[in-house]
């Protein structure tokens, strides 16, 4: 874990021993580059890298690759996300080569939400590969210069490879094992699903550390600030794999509606401070969905500014 494999700023931050901060940008539902630039402005100086989602929740949005390029031009180190739902192995390998050629340094390999929940449920399923197979494929392209079929690439893509894992999905007993599989396949870093249940996250981290994974992969804890009681309830009941404890909802309820957002930011800062103390956590992944303006406040409030010079 000493030599740098890529030009990724995120890799440099993590390998230099700093607690990393990554953010997220959701692209617009239109051919509008300004929408990305506006979000980018809000994140400037607050993050080491910024993820761009790939038609998240199976809803059509501007492509992750295009949005990554716009953010790169603004000086960011973007994290390209590719889901297995929409592209086969041919298209994915092609996009990887394209991304690397454009100077994108980070890639997150994901399964993707099923299209049934999205805005085009009649679409054909792809899922040619799963996220673990994708990780192995990218690693081979980068480290051996080979395509999935074993043939040589003319130039290797230099990508810092990431995966996602959800400590709160079922069955709980295998979630750390699944992480181990992703690490074995080739993940350099992992971003978790957003955490609200800290005790459960601590339990997962303990299992992860017990099998020594924290020394093989950089783990970034997912954080999402709650805007309101409504949002908390929505996440709790409508989003699969999300664990929102009732105490959090009660805490938000105990505050007048106009103040709930402020309380949500406070909660996020407290959670970051507590999570930083957990052994094996190397950073946070801040997903302030449609609330990017709060990122600076949260990162600053948690004492994570300024971001390091690497």
């Amino acid at each position: 874990m000493s030599k740098f494999k890529t030009n990724s700023r995120l890799e440099r931050v993590l390998k230099s021993g700093y607690f990393a901060v990554t953010g997220e940008c959701g692209p617009p539902r239109g051919a509008d580059p300004e929408a990305i630039r506006e979000k980018g402005e809000l994140l400037k100086g607050c993050v080491d890298a910024v993820n761009v989602t790939d038609c998240q929740t199976a809803v059509v949005r501007m492509s992750s690759l295009a949005s990554c390029l716009i953010l790169k031009e603004m000086g960011f180190d973007p994290v390209l996300q590719i889901v297995a739902r929409d592209r086969n192995r041919i298209a994915i390998q092609s996009d990887i080569l394209g991304a690397a050629a454009l100077g994108i340094n980070n890639l997150l390999c994901l399964t993707g939400d099923h299209q049934k929940a999205g805005d085009h449920p009649q679409a054909k399923n792809v899922f040619d590969l799963d996220s673990i197979q994708m990780l192995a494929m990218v690693k081979r392209m980068r480290d051996e210069g080979k395509l999935l079929n074993g043939e040589d690439l003319t130039r290797r893509p230099q990508l810092f490879i990431g995966a996602a894992e959800n400590p709160f999905a079922d069955p709980f007993e295998i979630r750390h094992i699944r992480l181990a599989k992703k690490v074995a396949a080739g993940a350099d870093f992992v971003q978790t699903q957003c955490i609200f249940n800290i005790p459960k996250f601590k339990e997962w981290m303990k299992r992860v550390v017990d099998i020594g994974l924290h020394e093989k992969v950089f783990i970034l804890a997912g954080i999402t600030p709650l805007k309101s009681v409504g949002m908390a309830r929505y996440l709790k009941t409508m989003v699969p794999g999300m664990d929102v404890p009732d105490e959090l909802i009660e805490r938000l309820k105990g505050v007048p509606k106009e103040k709930q957002g402020e309380e949500g930011v406070k909660i996020a800062i407290e959670m970051i401070e507590e999570i930083r103390e957990i052994p094996g956590v190397h950073g946070i992944h801040l997903m302030a969905i449609e609330w990017e303006e709060k990122v600076r406040e949260i990162v600053e409030g948690a004492g994570l500014l300024p971001r390091p010079q690497v």
Partner: protein, 222 residues
């Protein structure tokens, strides 16, 4: 077996609208077992169609016939004697049967009376569920006898995904998470070490993705 469901009656009536002499052909195979197109269903449908026509003041002559199987040239040939006395055949067999009829009796339209849905089996009387995707390369020995291609909504070979919740699939709480079932079975069989292995990408060329398939058994040819 192949499982299907009769098309809505309105759709069938629309399909047979131009015809006054019609064969309704059932099948004693899979569709009889799932009560979609067997002899009983042929009788009922023929009666319903006649009733509908009479109510409109129109007549229709329906020949009811139920073949042993419609996926076999030998049985499909059995109606050659009278088939061209009619204007169309409404087949209540699966898509295979409809195509066989169309191929053998190309001068009149062969119409599908059922929507062929999946390959599966009965859970109990009246309930059938999908079990097999006919991927052409069975890996059930690796997953405790539960098919990840079929039972996992995303066909993951290295599941479960992060949307598995309480043993339910993210697409519908009525759908069991296939990988939850696989893990439970692997545990029961004491094969959890299998789970640590990464299953490589599937060769989809052996499934329908590779084009329509054919099997030739040299040892059985005459």
């Amino acid at each position: 077996m192949v499982v299907g469901e009769q098309k809505p009656l309105e759709e069938i009536l629309k399909m047979i609208e131009p015809f006054d002499r019609l064969i309704i052909a059932g099948c004693k195979g899979c569709v009889a077992v799932c009560a979609a197109g067997g002899e009983r269903e042929v009788r009922f449908l023929a009666s319903a169609v006649r009733t509908a026509r009479k109510a409109q003041g129109r007549e229709i002559e329906i020949r009811e016939v139920t073949l042993e199987r419609q996926c076999d040239p030998e049985y499909v040939e059995q109606i050659r004697g009278f088939v061209y006395d009619y204007q169309a055949i409404l087949s209540l067999a699966c898509g295979v049967g409809v195509q066989y009829l169309a191929e053998h009796y190309g001068r009149i339209p062969a119409l599908p009376g059922i929507n062929t849905t999946f390959v599966g089996g009965a859970e109990k009387q009246g309930v059938w569920s999908e079990k097999c995707q006919c991927c052409g390369n069975c890996v059930l020995h690796l997953t405790g006898g539960i098919c990840p291609i079929t039972r996992c909504s995303k066909s993951l070979l290295n599941g479960p995904c992060g949307g598995s919740s309480n043993g339910r699939c993210e697409i519908d709480p009525q759908v069991t998470c296939g990988w939850q079932l696989i893990l439970e079975r692997l545990k029961e069989l004491e094969q959890m070490d299998r789970y640590l292995e990464i299953i490589p990408p599937k060769d989809w060329s052996q499934s329908r993705d590779g084009g329509p398939r054919k099997i030739i058994r040299e040892d059985l040819l005459r």
